[in-house]
């Protein structure tokens, strides 16, 4: 691949390149002309294929470099930077006025698929469950019972839960708005992050404050009209259609406001930390 060459002046052609079929002057002129063309094609081809070869090697080298780059969160660091750049753009565009579509009850999926059991230890006693909120502005941590959560205004929504794997289900959720709970137990002004953990920290997610304030972000205690089952994260989980399923932590034990970007279970394992819709 080359620049358009200037029209070449007719160069001298070595005698051996001129093929003359007979003595006719016209034929001789054509032969000279064709030889010039052939030479020009050879010149352009040399240049073009050298450039193409160099470009191919450079592209292959860049690819190898990318694949072997030091890993960060189990993904080559340039790709991690890419995910973070995408996050900045998404956060700048994000608006709490844009809602995840709500569906009629008839659209609810017959099977509320269960996909992740990390953090749901079998020997956990839900009767002793409390929700701890840490980092409240000017206050010690708060400890809430399920009744305390249910005392907040009850919210219902029928939304799509989208898994990073590509499937999705329509679910009816009931719970308290996280924004309502956070209004009563407020973080210090301009706190950027919220960390949530399951009992013992087996599962953990990092969330941006903006998504936590979204009106469809619920601390849910019911799924499809029934209390959360064990595998759906009883007694309290996050229902958050502005995030993929892997951010919607089950059996929340701790909510912590923080200025330090919290780690995230799947974010540590090669996935996007943000995971936002």
């Amino acid at each position: 691949m080359t620049d358009e060459p200037e029209v070449p002046e007719v160069p001298e052609v070595p005698a051996e390149e001129i093929v003359i079929s007979d003595g006719d002057t016209l034929r001789k002129a054509i032969a000279v002309h064709d030889a010039v063309v052939d030479r020009e094609v050879r010149r352009l081809s040399r240049r073009g294929f050298v450039v193409a070869g160099v470009a191919t090697v450079a592209a292959y080298g860049a690819w190898k470099w990318l694949r072997l780059a030091k890993r960060e969160g189990d993904v080559p660091w340039p790709l991690r930077r890419g995910l973070e750049a995408n996050e900045k753009i998404a956060e700048a565009y994000f608006s709490n006025r844009r809602l995840s579509r709500e569906f009629p009850p008839s659209a609810i999926s017959a099977n509320a698929r269960i996909n992740g059991g990390v953090g749901l230890q079998a020997n956990y006693d839900p009767d002793h469950w409390r929700l701890q909120i840490e980092g409240i502005s000017g206050q010690p941590p708060a400890s809430l019972s399920l009744a305390d959560i249910k005392a907040f205004p009850r919210r219902d929504m029928t939304t799509e839960l989208r898994c990073i794997e590509g499937w999705s289900i329509i679910v009816h959720w009931t719970g308290a708005r996280l924004a309502d709970v956070m209004a009563k137990f407020p973080p210090p002004p301009r706190t950027p992050y919220v960390a949530m953990e399951s009992p013992g920290g087996g599962y953990y997610v990092g969330l941006d404050m903006l998504s936590c304030m979204h009106p469809q972000t619920l601390l849910a205690y019911e799924i499809n009209g029934a209390p959360l089952s064990w595998q759906h994260g009883a007694p309290l989980r996050l229902a958050m259609p502005v995030k993929y399923g892997y951010k919607q932590i089950k059996r929340i034990a701790t909510i912590r406001y923080t200025t330090v970007r919290p780690t995230d279970f799947w974010g540590d394992r090669g996935y996007d930390w943000y995971g936002g819709h």
């Binding site: 080359t2 063309v37 844009r98 590509g166 996007d272």
Partner: protein, 219 residues
């Protein structure tokens, strides 16, 4: 008598060859993602002709299994390069006037049938061949429309709340994913036919995509 003719402008050659590895990375990383939920098939009702579900074994043999996170991080990185290259290409064809050779006109539909019949050796007379024949015009325009389709369905899957109106337009999240997948199958089919046609047309034509010029021989 031979002559050298300008065929492909430098910019178009670069856009073309840059797109090739970018699209390859997008398709391959897309397969890494598809592995996690490989639900599509070709069939009618309950009768399945081809399971795009492919056996888990096939994914494993092709080394495409258990690489969802890797596929996503690549997809969300190279999507920008793929989009930018495509947008620059379209902008270039508009401003340079190359679009005149590329867009189908009102004759293209009939002529494209003639091209196809000729290529299948069912019709003797060669169809009118400008810089691009009618079948090429339609294909090369369709592939750009498909590219746009990939970007839009991709955005609808990527941000289904912030761009909920777009997701809705495609018929919902799962339909957007459905279209996103089948457009990709379309790229693969295009690629197969495109390469076959280039091989059939010969070296002079292929070389023109590298050096920009083609040798014309007159009697």
């Amino acid at each position: 008598m031979k002559d050298l003719e300008n065929k492909h402008p430098l910019a178009i050659r670069w856009f073309h060859w840059i797109n090739f590895p970018l699209l390859a990375v997008m398709v391959w990383s897309g397969l890494l993602i598809y592995w996690a939920n490989p639900v599509y098939r070709i069939g009618f009702g309950n009768h399945t002709l081809v399971k795009m579900r492919v056996a888990e074994k096939t994914f494993e043999k092709a080394n495409l299994a258990f690489r969802l996170a890797e596929g996503l991080s690549l997809h969300f990185f190279f999507m920008w390069l793929f989009a930018i290259n495509g947008i620059l290409y379209v902008a270039y064809t508009i401003f340079s006037g190359e679009w005149r050779y590329l867009l189908p006109d009102r004759h293209s539909w009939v002529e494209a049938i003639q091209v196809t019949l000729h290529d299948l050796h069912l019709r003797k007379e060669p169809p009118p061949q400008a810089k691009y024949n009618a079948a090429q015009r339609i294909s090369y325009t369709a592939i750009i429309v498909m590219g746009l389709g990939s970007l839009l369905t991709g955005l609808a899957i990527y941000k289904p709340v912030q761009f909920g109106w777009l997701t809705f337009l495609f018929g919902g999240y799962q339909m957007a994913r459905f279209f996103h997948f089948w457009i990709t199958v379309g790229y693969v089919l295009f690629f197969v036919v495109h390469v076959a046609q280039v091989i059939k047309t010969g070296w002079n034509n292929f070389r023109a995509m590298i050096i920009g010029r083609e040798v014309r021989t007159y009697d």
